[in-house]
């Protein structure tokens, strides 16, 4: 059959589309849940109104976002069975467990407490209401942890044995699956990238309002929180990316060789800045390189040997039999670069912002601003001019989606870089698809999901834009006087709900 219409190709496209789409919402959900919870904590502790307004503002954007995250996640739970039934049969004994943990522990947390949080403003005393959003946040983190443990098992299977008689992988050590270094590093990397994403989102939106001198007290606080989150998230993303990379050099040398388009092993190995090559011939025609840097990224020294694509392919052929064990090299190579490039661009902008808006450190007294003033952007000793300031705000606004691009490429890189394996060294992707599902069925579901997701994307973005522009809401009497009893004030039987669908 034509490869383009092979069930494997279509199933992979569908998985790619639905998963990348789902993951646009995941990191924002993770970080905004925690950031909203942090702001609400500040409100409960200080009773400063700006924190409550910020909580309501970011909370609303968070809700618009998590709604999409939750519903697109439903597909993820079932599509292994739909399109990948042979995969499910072969690995269900191992792979199913973290998914069940995710559902029974994390999803229930998230979904139950989010209901309590949305509708609980006039039903719960404020500390209990605050605890609800923290439970949601905990739920998002646990959910990500379990699913990353499952994915890490596909990257680097541990704690299992092959049952020849039943023809499947069986779990022997669940603890190993949950705590292997691939899992821990992927979790570290994904969590920090999630906060980088949320930080950039917050900075972009705060910049939009500050540029127009609107909602200043709330947006000043948000800008600060966003910048710090972005900078800390950025540093941790870089650090964890480096350690995860080193782990991958040990566990999947092919993926990392492809990430560098390093065709033949070198000692010391250079880091590729740009390459254009001939994939069939297996070499680069143009290559711009930094000597020794790749050796350092792989093994922390500047002169060790790093194996290339061709060597690794040969080694894998000896280990697993004849075949081509190369991923699509340009995708891995460029995916790796877009991931790092877009993520670090955002991070740099955050660092710059942190410096420009510094409060005391090396800032002349005259330039310090009050709660209701837009902070000066101070490069050295003088504030930036109107045009440059505006440029920074605009840059922050227009790059707020950069981490989303970085996240998407990160996943495309790590999943496509593992090919032809679905479970590295254990099962190839072409053996994983559902044999009973027809091409027409896959095409149907892929088209339906793609169309539906496209429509929902337009709706979601427009809604976000509307609520971003509207700014933080004015507070009402009820907001400032939360109930003291669970269930709210039952005396006034006809009092309208604080929020209703």
């Amino acid at each position: 059959m034509d490869m383009a219409l092979a069930p494997e190709t279509l199933a992979r496209w569908q998985f790619g589309i639905t998963t990348v789409y789902h993951f646009l919402f995941v990191p924002l959900t993770i970080s905004l849940a925690a950031l909203t919870a942090g702001l609400q904590t500040a409100w409960v502790r200080t009773e400063k109104e700006k924190y409550l307004r910020a909580t309501k503002f970011w909370g609303k954007l968070f809700l618009i976002n998590i709604a999409m995250g939750v519903v697109t996640g439903i597909v993820q739970e079932f599509q292994f069975g739909m399109n990948w039934s042979d995969y499910s049969r072969f690995v269900g004994d191992v792979f199913g467990a973290p998914l069940a943990f995710e559902a029974l522990i994390a999803f229930f947390f998230e979904s139950t407490f989010i209901g309590l949080w949305i509708f609980g403003w006039d039903k719960l005393p404020k500390k209990i209401h605050l605890a609800c959003i923290w439970m949601v946040s905990l739920g998002t983190l646990l959910s990500a942890y379990f699913i990353l443990a499952a994915n890490s098992w596909m990257q680097h299977p541990v704690g299992y044995r092959i049952n020849e008689e039943k023809g499947r992988a069986e779990l022997t050590d669940f603890w190993a699956v949950l705590t292997q270094n691939t899992t821990l590093n992927q979790v570290f990397h994904s969590f920090s990238a999630a906060f980088l994403t949320g930080g950039a989102f917050m900075v972009g939106i705060a910049a939009f309002h500050l540029m127009r001198k609107k909602h200043i007290p709330v947006m000043r606080t948000s800008l600060r929180l966003g910048l710090v989150t972005l900078a800390v998230g950025g540093i941790l993303t870089a650090v964890s990316g480096d350690t995860l990379g080193k782990v991958m050099y040990e566990q999947q040398p092919m993926k990392m060789a492809a990430a560098e388009a390093l065709w033949d092993g070198e000692e010391p190995a250079p880091f590729s800045v740009f390459a254009y090559g001939d994939v069939d011939e297996g070499h680069n025609k143009v290559a711009l390189e930094i000597p020794g840097l790749l050796s350092f990224l792989a093994h922390s020294d500047f002169d060790s040997y790093v194996p290339g694509i061709n060597d690794t392919n040969k080694a894998l052929q000896e280990q697993f039999g004849p075949g081509d064990y190369k991923p699509i090299v340009p995708v891995a190579y460029w995916g790796f670069r877009w991931m790092i490039g877009f993520g670090m661009a955002s991070f740099s902008l955050g660092l710059l912002g942190l410096w420009l808006t510094r409060k005391r450190f090396l800032l002349p007294d005259a330039l310090r601003t009050g709660e209701d003033e837009v902070p000066h952007l101070v490069l050295l000793r003088k504030p930036l001019g109107t045009r440059l300031s505006r440029m920074y705000w605009l840059l922050a606004l227009w790059t707020m989606a950069f981490p989303l691009i970085a996240n998407s490429w990160g996943w495309i890189f790590t999943e496509m870089g593992r090919q032809p394996w679905v479970v590295y060294g254990v099962m190839q992707t072409r053996d994983a698809v559902s044999p009973g599902v027809s091409t027409a069925e896959v095409i149907t579901s892929m088209s339906v999901f793609t169309l539906l997701y496209a429509i929902l994307a337009v709706i979601e973005v427009k809604l976000l834009a509307k609520y971003v522009k509207a700014g933080p809401p004015e507070l009402t009497e009820a907001d400032l006087n939360p109930p003291t009893k669970i269930g709210g004030d039952l005396r006034d039987a006809d009092k309208p709900m604080a929020f209703s669908y």
Partner: protein
């Protein structure tokens, strides 16, 4: 009782939880057309389930995840076999979740009306399709020696399964109607009670017919007990509704759901998906289940987490115990 039998029971429990809980919120979705006379009433209906529908839906995700972990073969055959109906259900659940959350976020008439239409259809279609799916599971489908489903989508639309679909649709609608009577105040509550009687009678006839069919096709002594409980609870639920005992009516319509699901699983056991081509090719609790080690871990998980979930979900219902009427609906700030 071996661990795979325990897990057969636990999967049944998860589906029961799902149908009990999301059953009434599907029903409430259907009522937005059947009962509500204006937008304010629609909003009352939607808000009776507002804080809880999302948590209810997690029972489905858990049933899915637990089936994957405890019975990988069942998970694989079921979801690859029932591909298109499952696709329809997923699309509905996606749109439905977004509809609840987004409907109120804009004040334009067309925007709100469209999401309301969506809520109706995306509640009605899954309520029907789940019955079709379970009808087919109980009846058996074409499964070959590799445990693959080899029938077509049209094979799934047989009379027995379609009747199953009507049963879940009406039963969930009835369940939703008594839930509405229990959770609302004012005129809508009175009308919910009247409607519950009418829907209840239709439901009772369909449930009786479907369960008798099931009993004659593949029942035994135990399933007969479930049948009797299901039908008796439904009849008593009707008289409780008539007597204005809304709490009892709701609990009893819940019992009908529990007993109906119990009957499905009792007639299935020890199969999980019987093959109509050759009994040897059926998926059973033994040939479809995971290894003892995985089942042991899963059992620990279930033993610790399930009571907790019931506890805090129950608490949510208690927090939002107050009845609501049109006077409680807040005008959204735009």
């Amino acid at each position: 009782m071996e661990l795979h039998d325990v897990w057969f029971v636990l999967i049944a429990v998860l589906w029961t939880g799902y149908f009990f809980l999301e059953g009434f919120d599907f029903g409430v979705g259907v009522l937005t057309r059947l009962l509500a006379r204006n937008r304010a009433e629609k909003r009352v209906l939607i808000n009776t389930i507002g804080p809880v529908w999302d948590g209810n839906e997690v029972w489905l995700l858990t049933a899915g995840g637990a089936t994957f972990a405890a019975f990988p073969e069942w998970y694989a055959t079921l979801f690859s076999g029932f591909y298109l109906p499952l696709l329809a259900i997923l699309v509905c659940l996606i749109v439905r979740g977004v509809a609840f959350e987004y409907r109120v976020k804009r004040s334009e008439e067309r925007w709100q009306r469209n999401w309301e239409t969506a809520i109706f259809w995306t509640s009605l279609i899954p309520a029907f399709l789940w019955g079709v799916a379970f009808g087919n599971i109980v009846r058996g489908v074409k499964i070959d020696r590799d445990l693959e489903y080899v029938g077509s989508v049209w094979d799934l639309l047989n009379p027995y399964a379609l009747l199953g679909g009507l049963v879940t649709l009406t039963l969930f609608t009835f369940h939703g109607t008594v839930f509405t009577a229990l959770k609302t105040v004012g005129e809508i509550r009175e009308r919910a009670r009247t409607l519950a009687l009418r829907v209840g009678v239709v439901t009772a006839v369909l449930v009786l017919a479907f369960l008798l069919w099931t009993q004659f096709a593949s029942g035994d002594g135990k399933s007969l007990v479930a049948l009797v409980v299901a039908v008796a609870a439904l009849v008593v639920a009707l008289s409780a509704t008539q007597a204005g005992r809304e709490g009892w009516a709701f609990a009893l319509s819940g019992v009908t759901i529990v007993a109906t699901v119990a009957m499905f699983f009792l007639t299935l056991f020890p199969n999980v998906m019987p093959s109509t081509l050759d009994a040897d090719w059926s998926l059973t609790v033994t040939n479809a289940s995971s290894s003892p080690y995985t089942l042991k871990i899963m059992t620990w998980l279930a033993a610790v987490a399930t009571p907790l979930v019931l506890l805090y979900q129950g608490w949510t219902y208690w927090v939002f115990r107050k009845r609501i009427g049109t006077q409680h609906i807040a005008e959204p700030a735009h």
